[in-house]
């Protein structure tokens, strides 16, 4: 290695190597679940925690570069760690620590592929995500990017006996591959005239505005396909539910964020001066995905599909923040741009904790009851308290309720929106504030979805008799969930420390002068010009104080006598569990209000129907409107081309004669 490699980079690369080693250790005795569950996954979690620590420790140190020996002869593998990759490495390490801990207790016999093979794919998936965050040249980025897609494809199709899971896996890998092609084209355009594919060459290559816009749009489409931005989102609600829960937690929590990392790296780092309309395109896509995702989440009856659509909503919010930051950056307003960028980074980290916790919760429920359909769950809080309460924390956090972390990143995003009216462009300063309303709508709808999710799964009466013997999660699963829940709470209560950690990224991009502070340690006051502050610690202590005071006063003064009785059934026959609100019922107002979003097919019982049943079929208009016609077009094209091969020798001879004559014609 030419330059002496600095400590953090060496440590990070060796930790990634450790992950790969753990993976291959699994192959030694692929059938023994004990080795995998008791030794390999916990050590994977430890490595994840170590990566998070190194990333957090190394974020303040300057950018490090390292050129490895391997790779193409004239394009060896370049690695680079800077503030942006440190933030996402912290995200990868922290979230994967909790999820791996949960996975240690989650995988049992008969889960499709052998545990050893699963452990290999799982840890290769983690290592490739780490490699994506460190790659500093097009070739190694593409190799790690697509091996991330490949390993996650194998993880998605663990139970490959079920045809739907195979379908989901195929769709996922196909769209991931097409996205990767977009990214490859964008890198090709970005290398400008320099014919080199290292990121440093791309930074120095000056592109004409036309080529720069082409590179940006290709990158947006390519990374949007991996992130699940709306027109390219169709794979996400299929792939995430098909994967085992820890894997869908990793995919939703961490893999989608690598797409956000990619978009940030391309626009803020590699392309220098953005056009004003770039941000608008990203924000429009983001806002539409946010509303589209949350509206579909509200209408789902399968809990993992519900969470997958909620991931689409959060990706929409991330891309909205990214678009906003881009608009401010283009307009030269660096303070609001850095605020929006911090909001995006903060929400990315928050979402990986929240969504990881929820997916892991559904995993525990799935293992206990074997049910994924919301119509067959309910009342699990009594039998699975250790799963219910952390999931409640996750649900409240993702609904964006104050003391927890979801609210902080949303609050920052809204503060950034508040300075949107100063953008000099004519129509933009009027359109952007409307963005606030859409973000608020999406956040409120998220609250609606989470009440539906938590209420239908954990509260009320069990809708199936078999739920009675649902057992609580194992101690390793509880540990994993507590780690993630603690992450949610701490990120919510100490925003200032977190923001000082994230603010290093805009400083690296030159949007913020180094050493900027955001109010006292307990009070968050990000915007200089505006008097807007939020102190979660004080806030939470006051609320707790009031609650405890009320409890003491009420119980002390009025004797604590409680009697249990049947709930009010307005005098008719005894209420049973089927009279509760089902998942479709809870989604009915949304389906009624957001009618145009859905392709709906209802089966209503006719009056004379002896066994009346009511079924509603929700279909995604984008799937029927965009993907099916594309497939039929290729089908028809193939049909036309195949006529060439009719089987007669003489026709083939005619082809070669005609080719010969045509070429001779050219040669004249």
């Amino acid at each position: 290695m030419s330059a002496p490699v600095s400590a953090p980079m060496l440590l990070l690369v060796s930790l990634l190597g450790l992950w790969v080693a753990i993976g291959f250790l699994g192959l030694l005795r692929p059938t023994s679940l004990r080795l995998v569950a008791h030794i390999l996954f916990p050590s994977g979690a430890a490595v994840g925690a170590a990566i998070a620590l190194t990333a957090a420790w190394s974020i303040t140190s300057p950018t490090e570069r390292w050129v490895l020996g391997i790779g193409l002869p004239d394009l060896p593998v370049h690695l680079q760690r800077d503030a942006l990759s440190s933030v996402f490495l912290f995200l990868l390490g922290a979230a994967s620590a909790g999820i791996s801990l949960f996975a240690a207790g989650y995988f049992r016999r008969g889960e499709g592929t052998l545990p050893g093979l699963l452990c290999l794919q799982y840890h290769l998936f983690l290592a490739s995500m780490g490699a994506v965050l460190l790659a500093a040249d097009a070739y190694s980025f593409m190799v790690s990017w697509e091996s991330m897609a490949l390993t996650s494809y194998f993880l998605v199709t663990t139970q490959h006996r079920i045809p739907e899971i195979r379908q989901a896996g195929f769709l996922y890998l196909l769209i991931a591959h097409l996205g990767a092609i977009g990214i490859l084209l964008s890198f090709g355009v970005m290398q400008g005239g320099s014919w080199q594919f290292t990121f440093d060459a791309m930074r120095t290559a000056e592109l004409s505005p036309g080529w720069a816009s082409a590179a940006f749009l290709l990158a947006l489409v390519g990374f949007g396909a991996k992130a699940g931005l709306v027109p390219m989102h169709v794979w996400l609600p299929e792939a995430h539910p098909a994967a085992p829960s820890p894997v869908s937690a990793l995919m939703s929590g961490v893999m989608i964020k690598t797409a956000v990392y990619g978009v940030l790296r391309v626009t803020f780092d590699l392309l220098d001066d953005p056009a004003w309309w770039w941000g608008l395109v990203a924000m429009a896509l983001g806002l539409f995905s946010a509303v589209y995702g949350v509206v579909f989440a509200a209408a789902q009856t399968d809990m993992k599909r519900l969470l997958a659509f909620s991931s689409i909503e959060n990706i929409g919010l991330l891309f909205t923040g990214f678009g906003l930051a881009l608009i401010f950056h283009a307009a030269g307003m660096s303070a609001p741009a850095s605020l929006a960028l911090i909001a995006v980074l903060y929400h990315a980290v928050n979402h990986s904790f929240m969504k990881g916790l929820l997916f892991v919760g559904t995993g525990a429920v799935l293992h206990a009851t074997g049910q994924r359909n919301l119509g067959r769950l309910g009342g699990l809080i009594h039998r699975m308290p250790w799963v219910a309460w952390p999931t409640l924390i996750g649900a409240l956090a993702i609904a964006g309720l104050p003391p927890l972390n979801g609210f902080v990143s949303e609050w920052l995003l809204l503060q950034a929106f508040l300075s949107a009216h100063e953008v000099p462009r004519l129509f933009l300063n009027m359109l952007l504030p409307l963005g606030t309303a859409v973000v608020a709508l999406a956040a409120a709808l998220a609250g609606y979805v989470m009440v539906k999710f938590f209420g239908v799964v954990f509260l009320g009466q069990p809708r199936e008799a078999t739920l009675a013997d649902a057992h609580d999660a194992g101690w390793r699963e509880r540990l994993g969930m507590i780690w993630l829940a603690a992450g949610c709470v701490l990120l919510g209560l100490f925003p200032n420390q977190a923001i000082s950690f994230f603010a290093l990224v805009p400083t690296q991009f030159g949007l913020l002068e180094p050493g900027a502070t955001f109010g006292r340690w307990w009070l968050l006051d990000p915007v200089a010009g505006r008097q807007a502050s939020y102190a979660p610690l004080v806030f939470l202590s006051i609320v707790l104080l009031c609650v405890v005071a009320t409890i003491l006063v009420v119980t002390r003064v009025y004797r604590r006598r409680v009697r249990r009785a049947a709930p009010w059934d307005c005098g008719f026959a005894r209420l049973d569990s089927r009279m509760q609100d089902t998942a479709e019922g809870f989604g009915q107002p949304i389906r009624h209000i957001f009618e145009p979003f859905f392709g709906m097919r209802r089966e209503l019982p006719s009056p004379s129907d002896t066994t009346p049943h009511y079924r509603v079929e929700i279909s995604d208009r984008i799937w029927t409107g965009l993907y099916v016609p594309a497939a039929t077009l290729v089908q028809r094209l193939a049909q036309a081309v195949v006529q060439l091969q009719q089987g007669r020798v003489s026709t083939y001879l005619i082809y070669s004669l005609v080719t010969l004559l045509v070429l001779l014609g050219f040669a004249l």
């Binding site: 020996g69 593409m142 490959h160 195929f170 355009v189 193939a638 195949v642 070669s656």
Partner: protein, 485 residues
């Protein structure tokens, strides 16, 4: 000396196996001879690396960096194919699909085929190159019709007629080349057709005659490469023959045909200032990639599916050679290597898969991973490699080709990428249910020989992650030779 050994072993093997081909231990003899050829090839390579290219036997044979790597590749893949054909042919004869006396024909023709290819690669005389190609075609025709089924007969017939007619055009091209060369080198008969002489004097050859010659040569050898409008024989020939033959046909014979086309292009490009030859090659390449990608969409037979995938990859290689320039040639050579390694690995696993399920139609092969993980994972990894998924070498060469295409012909990149995307969707949609899902496969009497499959895939993975420096210089030397610096 090594050259003599290299050519003698297979011919000797053919003769010996013609006698003992039907014995129980005939496959072992076959492996022995292939191993000997491989050893000779390695010795030859070390000699060429040691003291550069050289001519032998009165300049009739010429070895340089370009054809020596193809010779080693041919010898290596023929060795692994003979290893694979050992259990394969035993199972085939136990299943009663092949009669013992046909085995004798099979083994001797196999060695003769290897000899013909090595002769074509090493000969300096363009006429002998043509004769060797014709011999290769003839030896494989009988092998394609080994099973005596109506389909294999039809495939054999089409293969024979189309290739012979194609190669006849190549003969006419060679005649015109000889005609042009004779005017400059004088009528000394033997030396006029030697590639080395032609290479030195290519500046003074008449452009019109050379263009005409190139057209005939391109159509002739292009038929053997399976370029788009002339490809019709390839899917039938590769699908109906026994799988070792399909592997060798797809893996090696196509490379030899491209080698011949490139030899002619080097000569013609030297004399013509016009862009015509590279434009033609690029047009052929692009047309093959697009047509093959669309053909892939409606395949029912697994070997036909991978035969069309060979057409697609040959199209990519021709397109790369058409672009010319050091990087494109380097990438094309790398692509030839990784393609033949991966495609032969895929045919090995497909062969065993077809034997396990008793059929080649895709819809009847299901759930390989559950019954025999090695065959299932081998097929999955091979398919992902051939579709250009990154950790494997095919992505490395495609990355280089696409990036050079972006620089030289930006208009062609979207078409290429779209075709690659369609091919990916078509092949993966067929292969995924074959590997995963409920199983229809049964146990085999003999355990499948899967060492070759994973040896090939490991090599391709190595070429994908990091190309060893000496191999890189070797390719670079060959690339310079081709682009005529």
């Amino acid at each position: 000396m090594e050259l003599l050994a290299l050519l003698a072993f297979p011919v000797l093997g053919a003769a010996v196996l013609a006698v003992v081909g039907a014995r129980r231990w005939a496959p072992e003899v076959n492996v022995g001879f292939s191993a000997a050829t491989f050893a000779a090839a390695c010795a030859l390579t070390s000699r060429v690396i040691g003291d550069g290219s050289f001519t032998a036997f009165g300049e009739q044979f010429f070895i340089d960096a370009f054809n020596v790597f193809l010779v080693t590749l041919t010898a290596f893949v023929s060795l692994t194919t003979s290893l694979f054909s050992r259990p394969y042919m035993r199972i085939e004869s136990e299943h009663g699909r092949v009669r013992p006396q046909h085995l004798r024909l099979y083994h001797s023709m196999y060695q003769l085929f290897i000899a013909a290819m090595l002769l074509a690669l090493t000969s300096n005389n363009m006429g002998m190159l043509w004769v060797a190609m014709e011999a290769a075609t003839l030896s494989t025709v009988l092998l394609v019709t080994l099973y005596r089924t109506p389909a294999s007969l039809e495939a054999g017939w089409k293969y024979f007629i189309l290739c012979s007619v194609g190669i006849a055009q190549a003969l006419f091209g060679t005649i015109l080349l000889y005609f042009a060369a004779e005017r400059v080198l004088g009528g000394s008969g033997m030396t006029a057709l030697l590639w080395t002489n032609l290479n030195e004097v290519k500046g003074q050859l008449e452009p019109e005659v050379l263009t005409l010659a190139f057209v005939f040569l391109l159509v002739g050898y292009g038929t053997k490469v399976g370029l788009a409008p002339l490809h019709n024989w390839l899917p039938d020939a590769h699908a109906e023959g026994p799988t070792p033959i399909s592997a060798v046909l797809s893996g090696l014979l196509l490379n030899v045909a491209i080698y011949a086309v490139v030899r002619c292009k080097v000569l013609v490009e030297g004399s013509l200032q016009s862009e015509l030859p590279s434009r033609m090659l690029m047009a052929f390449g692009l047309l093959s990639v697009v047509l093959a990608a669309l053909f892939l969409w409606r395949q029912k037979d697994v070997k036909r599916l991978f035969a069309y995938s060979s057409i697609e990859h040959m199209g990519i290689i021709t397109f790369a050679f058409g672009m010319g320039g050091a990087v494109a040639n380097f990438a094309a050579l790398l692509h030839m290597t990784v393609h033949s390694l991966t495609k032969s690995a895929i045919f090995y696993s497909v062969g065993h898969a077809a034997q396990k399920t008793g059929t080649q139609t895709i819809d009847d092969i299901r759930g390989l991973v559950t019954v025999s993980p090695t065959v299932g994972w081998g097929l999955m990894m091979g398919t992902l490699a051939i579709l250009g998924m990154p950790p494997f070498g095919v992505f490395a060469s495609e990355f280089l080709i696409l990036t050079t295409a972006m620089r030289q012909e930006p208009w062609s990149t979207p078409i290429l990428l779209l075709a690659l995307g369609i091919a990916f969707a078509a092949v993966f949609r067929r292969v995924q249910p074959m590997v995963f899902g409920e199983t229809t496969a049964k146990r085999l009497p003999h355990s499948p020989a899967l060492l070759p499959v994973f040896a090939h895939l490991a090599l391709v993975l190595l070429l994908g992650v990091s190309i060893p420096p000496y191999l890189a210089d070797w390719y670079r030397m060959a690339a310079e030779l081709i682009s005529g610096q």
